[in-house]
Structure formats: C-alpha cells, structure tokens
Symmetry: C2
Subunit: 336 residues, 2 copies
Amino acid sequence: MEFLSENPDISFTSPLFAGILANTLLSTVPGISGAGPGPEKTLLTPNLDAELITDGAITSTTGNPNTPTGCPTPATITRAMMVLTGQKPLFINAGLRFPPSVPCLDAYGEVAGDPRNGDALPSAVRLFAQGERIGSFLSARSDLLVLGECVPGGTTTALCLLRALGYEASVSSSFVHNPVAIKEEVCRQALVRAKAGGSSAPLDLVRYLGDPMMPVAAGIAKTYTGTLVLAGGTQMLAVSALIKALGQPLPRVVTTSYVRDDPTANVGALVRKIGVHITYVDPGFGDLGHAGLARYCIGEVKEGMGAGGAMYLANLMGYTPTMIREAILSMVKTYS
Amino acid sequence: MEFLSENPDISFTSPLFAGILANTLLSTVPGISGAGPGPEKTLLTPNLDAELITDGAITSTTGNPNTPTGCPTPATITRAMMVLTGQKPLFINAGLRFPPSVPCLDAYGEVAGDPRNGDALPSAVRLFAQGERIGSFLSARSDLLVLGECVPGGTTTALCLLRALGYEASVSSSFVHNPVAIKEEVCRQALVRAKAGGSSAPLDLVRYLGDPMMPVAAGIAKTYTGTLVLAGGTQMLAVSALIKALGQPLPRVVTTSYVRDDPTANVGALVRKIGVHITYVDPGFGDLGHAGLARYCIGEVKEGMGAGGAMYLANLMGYTPTMIREAILSMVKTYS
C-alpha cells in the first residue's frame, strides 16, 4: 500500500507539530486503558510521552518507553520523526494530574472526572476560550499545525461524546482486545446523566462527559488561520464531531491505517457521517523485522501522541517512506 | 532626545515578544514593591498583566490597570504595542503563586521564598534547564526574541544577585521614592546566608537568593539561536550578570530612559561593568498631555512587563515614534 492514502495538497513554509496532553479519571477504571503499566499509572503517561519526545529519554522515573506488553510507545515514533525533521514540538497541557517535567503551553485546565458520577469537566467553556487564545498565538508562529493528543482513557470519552452528539459510534483501543463491554457500560451511564443534564449544546455535552483535550482542540480550530491537521484516531473524530456541532469549518484528520483497520471501531462510517477529510498513513511496520512494531499491524497500540501525524508531516516535508521507517526502527532499537 | 539611544542594526523576519512571569515572597514584605495595590496583592500582578496584554482587558477581577497612585501600568504600554504591531505575545510562567487566566508556556517552577529565611529557589538548576528547552523551542519559531519580565519584588532579588556576583549595585524601583533602606537590609541578610551556603557557582547563588525569572531567562539565552534582547531595567542587568558569570555570550538589553535616569540606581556603571550592549527608549511621555504617563518622567513606574522592549520592537518593525506615542495615549485613555 502507499505510505499515504492520498497525496495531500498542502503548501506551507512554517510547520509545527503540537500535542495536547490531558487526563480523565476514566483511565483509572481497571481495564479501560492500555496506556500505562496499570490503571493509576496511566495518569502519568502523557507526562512521560512529552518528556521522551522533548528530551529523547525519560529520566524523571524508571522504566523504558514500551507498553506493558512490550510494544514501543507511539511517542517513540513521534520522537523519531522530530529528530528526523529537526522539528521542535510543542506540548499543550489541557489538564493533567501531575506537573510535567518539560515546559508546556498550559491552558490551566483540570483533570476530567468520571462522567458517571457528575459533570466530567466543569471548565469546558473556559477551556474552549483558552484553545481560542492558543490558536490565535500559534497562527502567528506557523502556517501548518499538526495537532496530536495523549489522553489515556480518551477513546472512552470519545465514545461518550460521539454518542451524545448522535453518532452510532464504536471506538478504537490501544489494547489488542478492545474492552468494549466496559466502555459501553461507562458510556451508557454517562449518557443517562447527560440526558438528565438537560442541554444538548455541544460544550455542555463536553462538560457532562468529555475530557480537557476536546474543548482546547476545538478552540484552537476556531482561531487557527493556517492549515490545521488533527492527528489521531477516534479521539480526533470526536473532536471533529464537536467542531461540526459548533458550526465551525472542519479541519483535516490524519491517522494510521491500523486505526482504520480496527474491526471493533467503525472509523470509515464515522468519517463519512461527520464528513471529515481524512488521510491514512501506512508505515508498513510488518516488514521491518521488529516484533514490537509488527504488532501494531495486528491491532496493538495502533496510534497515539500524534504518531500518525508526525509521520505524515515528515513525508510532507520531503522525507521518503524509507527514511521514515529507518528512523523509527533506529530509534526503537535504542530502547530494546 | 531621539526615540532610541542608538540605531539598532538588527535584521529579522519573524520577531516574537515574550514576557517571563514570576513571584518572589519578597514582594509581600511591606514597602518593597509598588507593583500592586498592597503587599499580598503584588503576587497577582503578573497574572493581571498577562491577562491585560493578551485579552485587552482584565475580567478575572475588578479594578483598572493603573498603579495605586494612578499611573497606567507598563502592561498598558505593552498591550498598546501588541495591538499596533499585530504581535501575539507569549507569556512564560517561571513560578507563580496563582494559576494565570490566560495560557502560558509553563516551566513548572515555584515561587521564590524570602532569601533571609532559607534557600529562595531550590529549583534553580532545574529551571535553567527548562529555560534551555524553551530557548530551543523558540529558536524554531522566531529569529528575534524580545524578552520582558514581570516579577514584583524583582528589583530586590536583582540587587541581591548583583551583589552576590560581586557588583557594587544599586537598583531601580517602581516607587518614586525607592525604598532603599528596606532593600539594603533584606540584601544584607540574604548575603550573609548566601555566604554561609558556601558555593559561589552562579546557579547556587540564584538558589540562595534569586527568583524564578532569572534561571529561566539565562537558560533561554543559552540555547536561543536568533537575536535575543532582554527587555527590562536592573532586573535584566542582573540576568546579564548571571549569563556572564555562566560564561555564556551576553544578549542585548533594552530599557526605558526613565530607568537610566533613576538617580537611586547606577545603571550606567552596571552596564559598563558587565559589558552589556544596551539601548534606551525615550518615549517622551512628558509631552503627551497625560498626567499619569508624565509621571513616568519624574521617576514613577519607569518600566515593567517589557514595555521598553515592546516600544523598541514596534520601532524596529517600522512604526514611527509618533505612531507609538499615539497608540499608547489612545490605549491609556480607554482606561481613564
């Protein structure tokens, strides 16, 4: 297959890769998130991803940047692309439990609560306004913004928001066996609460059952004047649905072919229903001779921390698929 | 007098104005700081300045952007220059007591303590490294960085650091009557503690008696690859002295002629001793027919939040002194 599912016709002179970091307490519900070595530790994953991508190593704690099952984290892929292209990434803190070890553009948000127990994100409207300020600032500093995310538990909040917005969604997972039953039950209870909330205004739905990444991303989309590309899977489709519900123009989406090929998610149908322009990156990890990367192809990890978008950006900047694959393999080997 | 004391020979295509925000508990010592309507409230001044400059108004609290004696805050001048030039400023949170209401690039620092009671800034070395990361990121997004600061109580930490580094310094103040005796007594006690600390390494001195703005600014200076201009008075001379002590090349400094003309500070002598290249901006506030601005000329406020640097940048970008003065007067009038 081709490296990109289509030839993107984008002209730019000053590209920027940014990643939005956030927490939701849903990641601490046992079994929901594969993004960390245990439910409570998922809260720290965005911080460690940002540290790995900024510094090239995690020194603030022990351990290596592999998933609990031994796959390289998507952050390793993103790091490899930053080194290859010379890009200096920006991280945006939308709401984290722990202070990051590297500088972040901070929206001064909050960790989202469990939507089964109360409003998940009381600051949804304020965080949208923070996103608008960030989009305005970044417009002056770049003309192409590839915007990834790292929100453990975020496919579950994405499921909740998509359903609340009226989409018959099923969402992807970083687990090879998507914990569909747990996600569905959380979502069912969250939707009951949201319905009782009484409003169907998009940012009210985010308040009822969303996570901090969503309003910040939608706010950025409102004011960013260059080309915006949302880099992620079903989470960025949920953001796209939110943007559409707010009546704003839809940005592009890019994700990996592994998300598209996830049989437990209905990515293609969602894309058509929302009407979003999507590009798939197929990095061909099955042919690299690395067991951990090959497992992306059989449905593990799949995407995260804007990895698909980082590969897409490298390709747009003129790096060939071969250079991209070699850079990733070389980076992964330093950790294994 | 000329608007700029010299014709700066700087070529650039992508300028950026940034301001470092920080707190030191010294601003809460009664009589030390004029940057706020009372000792405890000085801690909130950087937040309100950033809000005013970003949004054009302060909505998170009541009150107007004047000093307690009715002078327009320097942040009003900086805001006027951002509007005139279309610049979108960046704020860097080096260590604040209260979360800002607008997004900041956050170094995840801490509020500096009173240097008479213990190490003022245990995180000095870590914050220098954060500055290095920020300088590296900003190098990719700009080729001219005008870097201001807002640190209530910061002229006292500047005095402490300059003395600790061996300079016979006296420093400026935002008060028309510089509270020299209080500052001198704080400084005397801080230097006794610093001497007992046993190290004369520059970042150890910052740890003993500095504030969070200092190591972040020095770290940025270490890695920033474009033209860096430190925008401020004696506080930026203290940063320059720190940078020199660290063996790094000295960036330029720009400040207002009102700081240079402060008879209680020895700016000219310090500039020569450090060997820094300085430019003075004389905005001619005495001739504008505005009583509050005219009082800058008789020694009140003088500078702050990079106001001198913001006027300098506007001039470098081609705006005439007349346009600059009219923009400031027009902005100030909306608040009075």
